[in-house]
C-alpha cells in the first residue's frame, strides 16, 4: 500500500481562506481584507512574476473576457461558475446589452484563475446570491468598452469618422455608405487597441435585454444530457479512484488486512493510504468502488468520549446536550437599554429554547476531481468550485507547486448551495492530486453518495436560549438571547476577523428591527468537532 499520509502542506504554511458565508462574508469582510490573506507570499510572488504584475483593474481587460468567433458568436470567460442560478445568462444579458450583441450568441464558460476576474470587491467567488449585484456595473462597462473598440477598429478599416458608425447586434454599420462589418471580422484589430476607460453607458430606458425576460442559454444542453459537470470529465489514460474514509473524523488508517485480496480483484491498479482515508484505484470507478467496499482497514482509535473530537460516543444528540449544558458566561454581541431592570419589573417572563440540526448540502452531483500532471510537472485540475483562485492556491500547496503552475478548470456545478468552497477534509481534490502523483497517471476521485454524506461539511447544529420580559399590556419590553455553538466564519476566518463574536452564529439573531427597548444578545463559543460549512440557508438562524 502506498502511504500518502504526510500532512498536507499548504503554500507557505499559511491558513488559506476556507469558507464564506453569505452575510458574514459580504457584511463583515471588505475585499481588501480578504484579498490580503488570499494573496499571501505565494500570491505576491505570482503577482510580481506573472501577468498579474501588470494587471489592470479587474473586469476591464476586454480580451480576458471576450473571444469573438468568426461566426459572430462570442465566447465569454466568466468570473463566476454556473450551478443553476442562471449567472451565465445574466452575464450575457448585461454584457450583451452594452456590447450590442444578442445574449443568445454568447457561449459562457467559467474563466481560469486570474486577476482580471476578481470583480467581487477585489476578490473572486461565486456565492452569497451576490454575483449579479457585485459585477453588474463592471460588466456593463466591459460591454460598452468592447463595443467602443469595435467602433474604433471599424472606423480605421472603413476610413470614416467613428461618430458616423453605429452598431446593431454584432455588426458595426456605416449607414451613409451602406457598409457594415461583423464583430468577428473586427475582433483581431479591435482587441489590439488600448481600451478606453471613459466610454458612456447606455440610458437604461433604451435597454433591449437587461430587465427583460431572456431565454436561458443552457436549457437545451441541460435537457438533453449534454451539459458537462466535473463528474463527466474524462482524460486520456485516466484511472478511477474510490475512497473509504475513516469512520471517525480525525482518525487515520493503520493497516489493510486484505490488501492482496483487493489487489487481485478485477481491474484494480493499486491501494493507497491517504490522510484519514484509504483509496482504491482501478480502471473503472465501479471496480474501484467494489474494492473500497471490500477493504478491511484498522483505524487509529478515536477518543473514548466527549465532543471535543469526533469520539466513539459523539453524536448530534450528544453535541446538542453539550450546547444546552454550557454554563460559560457569554460574550456580548449586542446590548441596549436596561435588560436586568426590565426583567425585574416584568409582568410576565416567557422563556424558550430553539435548536436546528446539522444539515448536509445534498447537492445532487456527488463531488469529484480529476488531476493530471503534465510532462513539465504542472498540474491540470478539474473540480467543482466556487472560488478558483483559492482552490489553485491550496492545490499548489498539496502538489508542491507554485499556484501559477496549476490550471484550474471549473465545469458546471450539479448544484452547490455553498458546498464547493474549500472545507479541508470535505474536498476530494487533494486526494486526486496525491493519487495522480503516486500512480503517475491522471486520476479521477469520485466520492460515492454514502462517502459524500459522511464527509460533507455540514451546516452546524445550533442552539439558542430566549427570554422575553412582557409589560402589563402584554408587549415585550426586553429580549435576552444566548446563542451557543460555532459557525463557519469563526471556524475558517477566526484569525482574520479579530472579533471574538462569531458573526455566523449570531447573524439573524442580531439587528432585529423590533421595537423592543431593552435587548441583550450573548454568544457562547462551543466548538464543533465536525467539519462545518456555510450553505444556502446557512449560518445558524
Amino acid at each position: 500500500m502506498n502511504d500518502l499520509t504526510p500532512p498536507l502542506p499548504l503554500a507557505g504554511g499559511r491558513e488559506p481562506i476556507r469558507n464564506l458565508s453569505r452575510r458574514g462574508f459580504l457584511g463583515a469582510a471588505t475585499g481588501a481584507l480578504v484579498l490580503g490573506v488570499h494573496l499571501g507570499p505565494a500570491g505576491a510572488q505570482e503577482r510580481a512574476e506573472g501577468a498579474a504584475a501588470i494587471a489592470p483593474k479587474p473586469g476591464t481587460r476586454v480580451a480576458a473576457f471576450l473571444e469573438m468567433r468568426p461566426d459572430g458568436t462570442v465566447r465569454l470567460l466568466s468570473p463566476f461558475v454556473e450551478g443553476g442560478q442562471g449567472i451565465n445568462t445574466g452575464l450575457a444579458q448585461t454584457i450583451g446589452e452594452e456590447f450590442d450583441l444578442d445574449p443568445a450568441r454568447f457561449a459562457v464558460e467559467c474563466a481560469p484563475p486570474g486577476p482580471d476576474y476578481a470583480v467581487v470587491n477585489g476578490l473572486r467567488m461565486t456565492g452569497g446570491s451576490f454575483s449579479t449585484r457585485s459585477s453588474y456595473a463592471a460588466m456593463r462597462r466591459l460591454g460598452a468598452t468592447a463595443r467602443e473598440m469595435m467602433l474604433r477598429a471599424a472606423a480605421a478599416k472603413l476610413g470614416v469618422a467613428q461618430d458616423q458608425l453605429t452598431t446593431d447586434d454584432g455588426r458595426v454599420i456605416h449607414a451613409a455608405s451602406g457598409r457594415s462589418l461583423g464583430y468577428g471580422e473586427l475582433a483581431a484589430a479591435a482587441l489590439a487597441l488600448p481600451p478606453r476607460d471613459d466610454v458612456p453607458l447606455k440610458d437604461p430606458k433604451t435597454f433591449r435585454w437587461i430587465g427583460k425576460p431572456v431565454a436561458r442559454l443552457d436549457m437545451r444542453d441541460k435537457s438533453t444530457g449534454r451539459a458537462v459537470y466535473a463528474i463527466d470529465i474524462t482524460v486520456d489514460g485516466m484511472l478511477h479512484a474510490a475512497v473509504l474514509h475513516a469512520p471517525h473524523l480525525g482518525t487515520e488508517p493503520q493497516a489493510v488486512a486484505n490488501e492482496s485480496d483487493i489487489r487481485a480483484m478485477p481491474g484494480i491498479h493499486s491501494v493507497h493510504r491517504l490522510p484519514g482515508a484509504v483509496a482504491v484505484v482501478a480502471d473503472s470507478w465501479w471496480r474501484a468502488r467494489k474494492g473500497a467496499e471490500a477493504l478491511q482497514v484498522s483505524w487509529t482509535n478515536p477518543a473514548a468520549d466527549g465532543v471535543a473530537t469526533v469520539s466513539k460516543t459523539f453524536s448530534a444528540a450528544a453535541m446538542l446536550a453539550a450546547l444546552k449544558g454550557s454554563t460559560e458566561p457569554g460574550l456580548s454581541a449586542e446590548q441596549e437599554g436596561d435588560v436586568a431592570g426590565a426583567f425585574a419589573g416584568a409582568a410576565k417572563i416567557v422563556e424558550a429554547e430553539y435548536d436546528a440540526p446539522y444539515l448536509a448540502h445534498a447537492q445532487l452531483e456527488p463531488p469529484s476531481a480529476v488531476a493530471r500532471f503534465a510532462a513539465d510537472g504542472t498540474l491540470d485540475l478539474w473540480l467543482p468550485n466556487q472560488m478558483p483562485e483559492l482552490f489553485q492556491q491550496v492545490a499548489a500547496g498539496v502538489a508542491g507547486l507554485q499556484p501559477m503552475q496549476v490550471r484550474i478548470h471549473s465545469p458546471l456545478l450539479g448544484g452547490f448551495f455553498g458546498r464547493h468552497f474549500y472545507y479541508g477534509p470535505a474536498n476530494p481534490f487533494p486526494q486526486a492530486i496525491l493519487l495522480a502523483k503516486a500512480t503517475g497517471r491522471p486520476v479521477r476521485v469520485l466520492w460515492s453518495r454514502e462517502e459524500e454524506f459522511g464527509m460533507d461539511a455540514v451546516r452546524p447544529l445550533s442552539f439558542a436560549r430566549f427570554r422575553a420580559a412582557l409589560g402589563s399590556d402584554g408587549m415585550p419590553v426586553a429580549l435576552q438571547t444566548t446563542a451557543v455553538g460555532e459557525g463557519p466564519i469563526g471556524r475558517w476566518f477566526g484569525a482574520l476577523f479579530k472579533s471574538p463574536v462569531d458573526s455566523s452564529v449570531v447573524e439573524g439573531l442580531d439587528k432585529k428591527p423590533y421595537a423592543i427597548p431593552n435587548r441583550m444578545l450573548d454568544y457562547v463559543k462551543v466548538p464543533h468537532p465536525v467539519t462545518i460549512a456555510s450553505g444556502a440557508r446557512s449560518g445558524t438562524r
Binding site: Q85, G225, I231, D232, S284, L364, G414, R449
Partner: protein, 148 residues
C-alpha cells in the same frame, strides 16, 4: 463479454455481470448524460428506458439487461415522444443546475409513451425523481405541455 443494445447500437462490454448498467453506460460506453446521484435507486438521476419503460439504471445489473433495448438521454430526441418532452423542457425552462434533468426527461418520456394523456395523479405517481434545486412545478408543467 456481455452483449448490449444501447440507442440501437450493439456493444460487447467487458465488465463483471453484476456491474450496474449506470456505470457501464457512463464509464465503459462514455454515455455520461445519464447521471449518478445515489446509486441506490432513490434519486432517479440515472433513469433510462428499458424496452420503453423508465428504469433506474443503477439498480439494473448488466447481466439482467439481455436483449432489452436500452435508450439513454443521448438518443431521446430520436423518439417522437422524447423529442416532445425535450421541447417542453426547453420551452418551460425547467432545468436549474440541470444535474437531475436527464433522469427527469427520461422519466417523463417513459410516462408519456405508456400514458399519452396522464392525469395529475399519473404525473405525480410517475415523476418521483429528486430535484435538489426544486424544479418540481416546472417539471409538472412541462409534462402537461408535452402531453397536450
Amino acid at each position: 463479454m456481455v452483449d448490449l443494445t444501447v440507442n440501437s447500437r450493439q456493444y460487447a462490454v467487458d465488465a463483471e455481470p453484476d456491474t450496474p448498467l449506470l456505470f457501464v453506460l457512463r464509464d465503459t460506453l462514455g454515455l455520461s448524460g445519464t447521471k449518478y446521484g445515489c446509486g441506490i435507486g432513490q434519486c432517479g438521476a440515472c433513469t433510462i428506458l428499458l424496452d420503453g419503460q423508465a428504469t433506474r439504471s443503477c439498480q439494473v445489473p448488466l447481466e439482467s439487461v439481455g436483449t432489452q433495448a436500452v435508450t439513454t438521454i443521448e438518443a431521446i430526441e430520436r423518439d417522437s415522444v422524447g423529442a416532445r418532452v425535450v421541447a417542453a423542457w426547453i420551452g418551460s425552462e425547467v432545468p436549474q443546475c440541470g444535474y437531475c434533468q436527464s433522469g427527469q426527461v427520461m422519466a417523463a418520456t417513459g410516462l408519456l409513451k405508456n400514458t399519452p394523456k396522464p392525469t395529475e395523479d399519473d404525473i405525480a405517481a410517475a415523476m418521483t425523481n429528486l430535484c435538489r434545486c426544486g424544479t418540481y412545478n416546472a417539471i409538472a408543467a412541462a409534462v402537461r405541455q408535452a402531453a397536450a
